[in-house]
């Protein structure tokens, strides 16, 4: 069986050859099996978001290869990859078009599978599907198809963005701290929705989080990053037996930099 995602020796240096040169990714390799749900932890600047940016094609790596479901996508354009890679950001305004209605936003996402009918409007069948999917979110959005997304709350917008990314099942879903800007109750709700969609559609998924306990409870693998490398790869029994205090200990050991700066970023709640 094909691996879903294979990263081979990925390096990325920002501002090379200047005093500001910063090695964001350093010979990083990672393999994901289909259906893997990997949580990614690490301090700020460890290279987590850079990793996502390289996978989604926002910029090219300096070295290394990226394969998705057996296909080399190292040099593929961002919008081409986006047809099979879904991505949700921390900033709740990034994933949706605020001046357009909920159904128009969903129709855009649905384009991936209906691209050939690009000169058609939203059909009754589309609407029926959108309503069903929205009803599953349990946020009462199914009756507000023609409301502008800009009128929704951050949590609702994030849920719509999640729906857009998964309306056509992606090969890979990248969640970049997608609940960090929400209040705790809403964050929990959005996480629940995420968990359900990922499980039901068997989506291969990576999630960056600063919340150590959800890093351990969600998904089946956890990786810890530092200075552009993977310093800890937890899975199976080792992961099941891992506790939050023990992981924080490990974090201190593995991380090269002064930990004081990072303590606040790794809450235990």
């Amino acid at each position: 069986m094909n691996k879903m995602l294979e990263l081979e020796g990925i390096s990325k240096t920002f501002f090379p050859g200047t005093p500001n040169a910063h090695k964001a990714l350093d010979q990083l390799s990672l393999t994901l099996e289909p259906g893997d749900f990997v949580t990614v932890i690490g301090s700020n600047g460890a290279g987590k978001s850079t990793l996502f940016n390289v996978i989604s094609g926002m910029f090219l790596p300096d070295e290394g290869r990226i394969r998705l479901d057996g296909r080399d996508i190292t040099f593929e354009k961002e919008h081409k990859r986006a047809a099979v890679i879904g991505r949700i950001f921390q900033d709740t305004t990034k994933g949706t078009a605020p001046g357009m209605t909920i159904e128009e936003n969903l129709a855009l996402a649905y384009l991936r599978s209906t691209g050939k009918r690009s000169l058609m409007g939203i059909t009754a069948a589309d609407r029926k599907l959108f309503r069903e999917k929205l009803a599953q979110l349990d946020l009462g959005l199914e009756d507000r198809l023609t409301a502008k997304v800009g009128l929704l709350s951050g949590g609702q917008r994030q849920a719509v963005a999640l729906l857009m990314s998964t309306l056509v099942t992606p090969k890979l879903l990248l969640l970049d701290e997608h609940t960090a800007a929400l209040d705790p109750a809403t964050a929990e709700k959005v996480l629940d929705i995420t968990r359900r969609i990922v499980r039901e559609q068997k989506i291969t998924c990576m999630m960056i989080t600063h919340n150590i306990s959800s890093a351990l409870t969600l998904g089946n693998k956890t990786i810890m990053m530092d200075s552009g490398r993977i310093v800890l790869d937890l899975q199976g029994k080792e992961r099941q037996e891992m506790t939050v205090p023990r992981l924080l200990e490990l974090f201190k050991e593995k991380v090269s930099k002064d930990f004081d700066n990072d303590r606040t970023l790794l809450g235990q709640d």
Partner: protein, 301 residues
């Protein structure tokens, strides 16, 4: 009906085709496209040259691809060459000045007096007693067809992609839409409409002039904003109607102002109308704040 009113209505509708073009680029795509001053004249020039050979309808039709080509050049400069959007438009506009001169055979104006036009072709539509209104049905028909096509297009999935590019380019970049394609499409459509507007105007006033495009961007923006203030922008069809209404109202203001002032004051009056329309929301807010202050609800700012 008053002849001034009819004239304002006709001109307003003709210029509304251009305003609808800017509605696509400025409002939908969120790009300030200054190609317009050039592509308006391009449309008129192409139309005049083709009309002189006796093909008035072909003149109108050919003006559209000419304008679209200009829009594509601006788009390529913006997207592939990374030239700033405003500068990209200015560059194309500058180049178009020479190109327009070439199209018109190195003459700064071309007369279409006595030549066939879309208006002479339809002269017999209305009885003799209403000849003053004869041009109106043709223009109304054209604008109506354009409005319908535009409203339909913006609801299609391609249209939605174009609007999303203007609404949230961050989202578009991380979705499967190619923002370079939607930018090219939007600017092509916009300048195609602008050129068509210039072409219709050339046949209406029976001449084309090298400088007829000057100031068109400002007039179009004023029309869009006047329309939005008075009609609103609840949804796409309303927004489109607002642009057409705004364009007609702008011409009415100008016509009325000209009755009181001399034609040499025209530019100053136009500028004043535009400034007023654009600052209307700010003025409204000032008045609202002043009212609140009087009621004593706002104690400090």
């Amino acid at each position: 009906m008053n002849i001034i009113l009819i004239g304002a209505l006709e001109l307003g509708l003709i210029y509304s085709i251009m305003a609808l073009g800017l509605f696509v680029s400025y409002r939908m795509l969120d790009v300030a496209d200054l190609t317009v001053d050039g592509s308006f004249t391009t449309g008129a020039a192409v139309c005049a040259v083709v009309s002189l050979t006796g093909h008035p309808l072909a003149g109108l039709m050919l003006s559209i691809p000419a304008g679209m080509a200009a829009g594509l050049v601006t788009s390529l400069l913006q997207t592939k060459m990374k030239v700033q959007p405003i500068l990209a438009g200015i560059l194309t506009q500058m180049a178009l000045y020479s190109i327009n001169l070439r199209i018109m055979g190195n003459k700064s104006n071309l007369s279409l007096l006595g030549k066939e036009s879309v208006f002479t072709l339809t002269e017999g539509w209305l009885p003799q007693s209403m000849s003053r209104l004869a041009k109106l049905p043709v223009i109304v028909l054209m604008v109506a067809v354009i409005c319908l096509l535009l409203a339909f297009f913006l609801k299609t999935k391609t249209g939605l992609s174009l609007r999303a590019t203007g609404d949230n380019v961050e989202m578009v970049r991380s979705s499967s839409i190619d923002p370079h394609f939607t930018n090219a499409l939007g600017l092509a459509i916009a300048n195609g409409l602008v050129a068509l507007s210039g072409a219709v105007l050339a046949q209406y006033q029976q001449y084309s002039d090298l400088n007829m495009g000057v100031g068109m961007v400002v007039i179009a923006l004023a029309s869009i904003i006047i329309g939005e203030v008075i009609v609103g922008r609840r949804n796409i069809p309303v927004h489109i109607l607002a642009v057409v209404a705004g364009s007609i109202l702008y011409r009415l203001f100008i016509a009325l102002a000209l009755r009181a002032a001399s034609p040499s004051d025209l530019k100053a009056i136009s500028a004043a109308i535009v400034a007023l329309a654009i600052s209307y929301p700010a003025i409204k807010e000032m008045i609202a704040v002043a009212k609140l202050k009087r009621k004593g609800r706002v104690t400090h700012e």
